[in-house]
């Protein structure tokens, strides 16, 4: 599970769908959730929040150009590659923060990924969970 901490900067609501923009070290990371802001305690602009997304929900891009419909792009550096037969874990750093992606080993080969590479981690808005920060 990947965890990023940030501050809610903007909330866009349409009925039961709420789009939440979170400022994470100057970058906007967006999540969509089912729920109405008025009914969810932690959904307020300026509030600190945690963003959670699974390793398997991170896609990796290298030397990409052009457009992609995925809203969340995090520029990272590859720290370590742990290869399995089917899956490979890509350990990377995003502005000093550790993140992990689980991608097919086949892709690693095709992309010729190696330690030190600059890559982009892509996460779809519907794959990001929001979590209230527990200060207790």
């Amino acid at each position: 599970m990947n965890i990023l901490q940030g501050t809610i900067s903007c909330i866009t609501n349409q009925g039961n769908l709420t789009l939440v923009d979170v400022n994470v070290k100057g970058l906007l990371v967006t999540a969509i959730m089912i729920g109405k802001p008025v009914k969810v305690r932690y959904l307020k602009c300026g509030e600190p929040i945690e963003l959670l997304f699974n390793e398997s929900e991170v896609s990796i891009g290298k030397e990409n150009s052009g457009y992609l419909s995925v809203l969340n792009h995090l520029i990272c550096t590859v720290e370590e590659i742990v290869a399995g037969k089917i899956f490979t874990l890509i350990h990377m750093l995003f502005q000093g923060q550790k993140l992990v992606a689980l991608i097919p080993s086949r892709s690693v080969k095709i992309m010729e990924l190696k330690k030190g590479d600059e890559i982009t981690a892509y996460i779809k808005i519907n794959e990001v969970f929001l979590k209230e920060i527990d200060f207790s």
């Binding site: 089912i34 969810v40 398997s56 899956f87 874990l89 689980l102 969970f129």
Partner: protein, 293 residues
């Protein structure tokens, strides 16, 4: 049956294995409502039911049911349990072992009403079983009798204290349907104590959450559980049965209700799971696959 509304305000000191704490509850339940009391063990849910039934006394407070005062410590007034129109179903049935089904139900009646007994026996599917003694009945059948017996008094309030906890999953579902059917038919004000969230969601549209002897939440189950900390809407409690490592993921067999389910978990941050662990499973509700059956 007369529909009763409940107005309660009580204080009571409770003594548990972990120490002493005070129960302090104030609530209003409208006639015909089916409300759930939810919260951890020992928080006072059963005590409140017992105070309503008159089986336990509050240290301080009052209880008004319908237009009638059932107790008021400031006035030193206490209506004895046998004069309160309450139907109570406990987790452990408590049927009379030497009486058959029919007699168990009949015994609970204040005034004999044969037609009503027939109706109850019919509604709860007890026709074939009516001459059997409790020892010849399954857990689910016994609990049906307990429910019929609670209704035999034509109560104004029905108190259900974990009535289905001792039953297996399939039987629970069937009995939940019966409780719903009965509530639809007679609309008796009902309080259900249950730790099974699925059951609470199915049966009640109002949940009162208790913690440390106090009411901390009161509302529709959907609204209460929107307050949970993680935004994923598909959430359930499961128990870890087995952990197997395959390639770079752990395949964990979880017990969800009565069914084992295998999930793949990426354990890159070295979370450890062991058989017996209780886990909260959270999944996004965004666009799951729904299939009509």
């Amino acid at each position: 049956m007369q529909k009763m509304k409940i107005e309660l305000s009580i204080k009571k000191k409770l003594f548990t294995a972990t120490g002493e704490f005070s129960l302090n509850a104030k609530l209003k339940i409208d006639h015909g409502e089916m409300v759930s009391f939810f919260g951890p063990s020992g928080v006072g849910k059963t005590t409140i039911l017992r105070i309503i039934a008159g089986l336990t006394e509050a240290d301080e407070g009052y209880l008004k049911v319908g237009d009638r005062l059932w107790f008021d410590t400031s006035k030193r007034y206490f209506l004895p349990p046998r004069k309160r129109k309450v139907g109570f179903v406990f987790q452990d049935y408590a049927l009379f072992p030497n009486m058959n089904v029919r007699d168990n139900i009949r015994f609970a009646q204040e005034l004999p009403d044969k037609e009503y007994i027939e109706e109850l026996i019919d509604i709860f599917g007890l026709t074939v079983l009516q001459n059997r003694k409790p020892s010849m009945l399954s857990g689910g059948q016994r609990q049906r009798v307990a429910l019929a017996r609670a209704l035999a008094r034509k109560p104004g309030i029905l108190l259900l204290d974990e009535p289905l906890s001792a039953l297996d999953h399939e039987t629970r579902i069937v009995l939940q349907d019966e409780i719903l059917k009965v509530h639809k038919r007679w609309g008796i004000t009902t309080i259900l104590v249950s730790h099974d969230l699925t059951e609470v969601f199915r049966l009640c549209n109002r949940i009162i959450v208790l913690k440390h002897g106090r009411i901390v939440e009161d509302g529709h189950p959907n609204d209460i559980f929107d307050h949970s900390k993680i935004s994923g809407k598909i959430q359930f409690i499961a128990e870890v049965l087995k952990v197997e490592k395959d390639d770079l993921v752990s395949v964990i067999t979880l017990l969800v209700g009565n069914s084992p389910v295998k999930v793949a978990v990426c354990n890159s941050f070295h979370e450890h799971y062991s058989p017996g662990d209780k886990v909260l499973v959270v999944s996004k509700a965004f666009n799951p696959i729904l299939q009509k059956i």
